[in-house]
């Protein structure tokens, strides 16, 4: 079977894109009509997580910087919204810009050391931020800010479906649609960002810092922006989370959720935008079905009363399996599958292979889903211990 070749930005391409968007919109509108409020709650949670995971993709996948404190950004957004809504009577929508700005600020602060520090030091700092955050909110200093301490901060956000909305959906369904619209906008912005000059600089910096610096990319600027934007997405993800769950507590925003974000990112594909959706789906449905499945097996049920723990084991196993066998994640696999039917060629590539056959077509996604050599980019061959590629490959 021959695949269709479509030039990126051409009219056909736009038609395909339009069709895809339409389909997505249709799914969003139909889900509330067709499924239960319980399922809608789950899908809403998928949205909140996907937005947060997307933030991690931006800093780790695209700019190659290890961030082990994403749970703190998520928590910052959630707590900001919870406190402003519960204690100060703000509307949810009004809290989001505040949460976003605070996230941006914290991300910037964490990103500043990144200007001077690399790799493992950065990992240690972000790890410390991620582990310290839930402790701070449960301490007196957090209580003074209204975090509710160890018990957590309850918050009630209930939306009524407005009268002008024609579809017959529940209030829960209306919330889901609004969340989907917000997430759609955030994903659209992220796509634009990674295709912009700064996004390409991020990737260039990740793949070869020295070469990027020579070609006029200012590493400091790019790294800090990546961290700040990543934190902003994490923070908004936290605000969205409160539309699905009426409480945020230190245990929600602990180091474990950071680990789950990371697993979700790797699962979908670190250097992809759309992979965050797969990650979000996994974060919601994997524990749900694991718990159900473990509850049915008497052997497992007798081991613990917390079947959620089995999900964590599975997360860990998935992470290892993906690092070993699918290091660039599921999305590149899926785009590879799509390329058997439809190949989208960026204009530059088309110019090279004019009239090119389907098999030699350029990268789908305009090179965004380029098969990443390793998660977070390849190692610098000149790195002190990495040795030369062949050399290390030969070792033992």
């Amino acid at each position: 079977m021959t695949a269709r070749v479509v030039l990126e930005g051409s009219r056909t391409h736009r038609v395909w894109q339009g069709a895809g968007l339409l389909l997505a919109a249709l799914v969003v509108l139909l889900l509330p009509v067709l499924t239960s409020d319980f399922r809608l709650g789950q899908f809403s949670l998928v949205i909140a997580y996907a937005v947060a995971v997307l933030g991690l993709n931006l800093v780790t996948g695209f700019s190659g910087q290890i961030s082990l404190g994403h749970g703190a950004f998520f928590g910052l957004g959630a707590y900001t919204t919870a406190i402003l809504v519960s204690d100060h009577g703000w509307s949810w929508a009004a809290t989001v810009p505040v949460a976003a700005l605070l996230g941006l600020a914290l991300g910037f602060v964490v990103g500043v050391p990144a200007l001077r520090l690399h790799g493992l030091y950065l990992a240690v700092i972000t790890l410390a931020v991620g582990v310290a955050f839930p402790v701070v909110v449960s301490q007196p200093i957090g209580l003074a800010l209204g975090t509710g301490g160890v018990a957590g901060k309850p918050v009630r956000i209930a939306w009524d479906k407005p009268a002008w909305f024609g579809l017959d959906v529940s209030d829960r369904g209306w919330t889901f649609i609004v969340m989907a619209a917000i997430a759609g906008a955030l994903f659209w912005i992220a796509t634009g960002l990674v295709r912009s000059r700064i996004g390409r600089s991020m990737v260039a910096l990740r793949d070869n810092g020295t070469a990027a610096a020579i070609s006029g990319i200012w590493p400091a600027e790019v790294k800090t922006v990546a961290f700040a934007v990543s934190a902003l997405y994490g923070s908004i993800g936290g605000s969205l989370y409160l539309l699905t769950t009426p409480i945020v507590s230190p245990s929600t925003v602990g180091f474990t959720i950071t680990l789950l974000f990371i697993t979700a990112m790797v699962l979908g594909g670190a250097a992809t935008v759309s992979g965050a959706w797969i990650g979000g789906l996994a974060m919601v449905f994997l524990p749900y079905y694991t718990a159900e499945w473990a509850g049915q097996l008497p052997l497992l049920r007798s081991l613990t009363d917390q079947p959620g723990l089995f999900a964590n084991v599975i997360y860990g196993v998935i992470l290892i399996v993906f690092i070993y066998f699918v290091p660039s994640g599921l999305v590149p696999l899926l785009t590879g599958l799509r390329a058997r039917f439809l190949v989208i060629v960026p204009p530059e590539a088309a110019a090279v292979a004019s009239g090119g056959s389907a098999t030699t077509a350029g990268e789908p996604d305009g090179g965004l889903s380029r098969p990443t050599p390793a998660i977070g980019g390849p190692t610098d061959p000149a790195a002190p211990h990495a040795g030369t590629p062949v050399d290390t490959a030969r070792r033992r």
Partner: protein, 308 residues
């Protein structure tokens, strides 16, 4: 300021408890450093592996094995476990750089943490107690008031740290194995050309680190009186902070860094009593930040980390 600021017994008590906690951080920092020196990786599952080791001691104790023998068995098992993980899980990722290895240790973190909680529950258990830890098991030094005393547990922990440092020093400086380990740490490729089995040195580092971690977790449980699946999460951060302070590739640095961090974390809240609550993690974070921004190689470290 604390009203007891000019009371020597109060200050001495702060210093002793700081050093005792610091010794625990030093043990974890040593584990981190021993892995880092040869492989240039940080094992973020170090704390969870340690918790698993401490639970092994607990389990053996529950089956009637005397506590010191149980610790010995657990140390050997931990060594084998650590070395095996390096060979089986980490080594194949070695050539792919730092990030996949970090991810693999995070995966280990998740798996071990959850498995410990599944098998031993999420509720704390009574810790194995290698040292006499009754209320009267202490040496009174100043009768006070306020009194100043050193508990047998604190003394035991400091003694373990000293014994370990001496043992490590002998192992690394006076044995052929240690020479090979240091050669690999100094220049991996040159060591390979000398015929040193580099891979085995990695396994050795991971194994020793795992055993040290188990010891640390056992002592952490001893001081806390209880052991649970999250016992080591915060301690790992303190250990990392101590390793950062001392320098990631320095064994004496890890010891000094751990003790110094313990002192800072005991003395600062003890003197500035307006600091409410337990903000030790925040203090550790600030220490790490200041060190990294002022002197990234730490107090005793040599190489600076340049890998992403």
């Amino acid at each position: 300021m604390s009203p007891n600021i000019d009371n020597p017994a109060y200050l001495l008590q702060l210093v002793t408890s700081g050093l005792t906690n610091g010794a625990l951080y030093a043990l974890v920092a040593l584990a981190v450093v021993l892995v880092y020196k040869t492989t240039s990786h940080i094992n973020l599952a170090q704390g969870e592996m340690a918790t698993l080791g401490a639970f092994a001691v607990f389990e053996l104790g529950r089956h009637g094995v005397p506590v010191w023998i149980a610790i010995g068995i657990a140390l050997v098992l931990s060594f084998l476990f650590g070395a095996g993980l390096e060979r089986g899980l980490i080594r194949p990722l070695e050539k792919r750089g730092v990030f996949p290895v970090i991810l693999a240790t995070l995966a280990l973190f998740l798996i071990i943490n959850a498995l410990v909680a599944i098998f031993w529950g999420t509720q704390p258990v009574a810790a194995p107690r290698p040292f006499p830890s009754g209320i009267e098991d202490k040496f009174d030094i100043l009768t006070g008031p306020p009194p100043f005393f050193i508990t047998h547990v604190a003394l035991g922990i400091l003694a373990v740290l000293v014994a370990l440092l001496v043992g490590l020093w002998l192992l690394l400086e006076k044995t052929k194995l240690g020479l090979g380990y240091r050669a690999v740490a100094a220049n991996r490729e040159a060591a390979e050309v000398m015929g040193i089995p580099v891979g085995r040195m990695f396994m050795f580092g991971w194994g020793i680190a795992a055993a040290l971690g188990t010891l640390a977790a056992g002592l952490v449980a001893e001081t806390a009186g209880t052991l649970d699946f999250n016992s080591m999460a915060a301690i790992l951060i303190f250990g990392l902070a101590a390793a950062t302070l001392g320098g990631f590739d320095s064994v004496p640095g890890a010891a000094v860094g751990g003790l110094a961090l313990g002192l800072v974390m005991a003395v600062v809240p003890g003197v500035f009593t307006f600091i409410k609550g337990d903000l030790s993690l925040v203090i550790a974070l600030i220490v790490v930040l200041v060190v990294l921004l002022v002197r990234p190689q730490g107090l005793f470290g040599t190489k600076t980390l340049e890998r992403v």
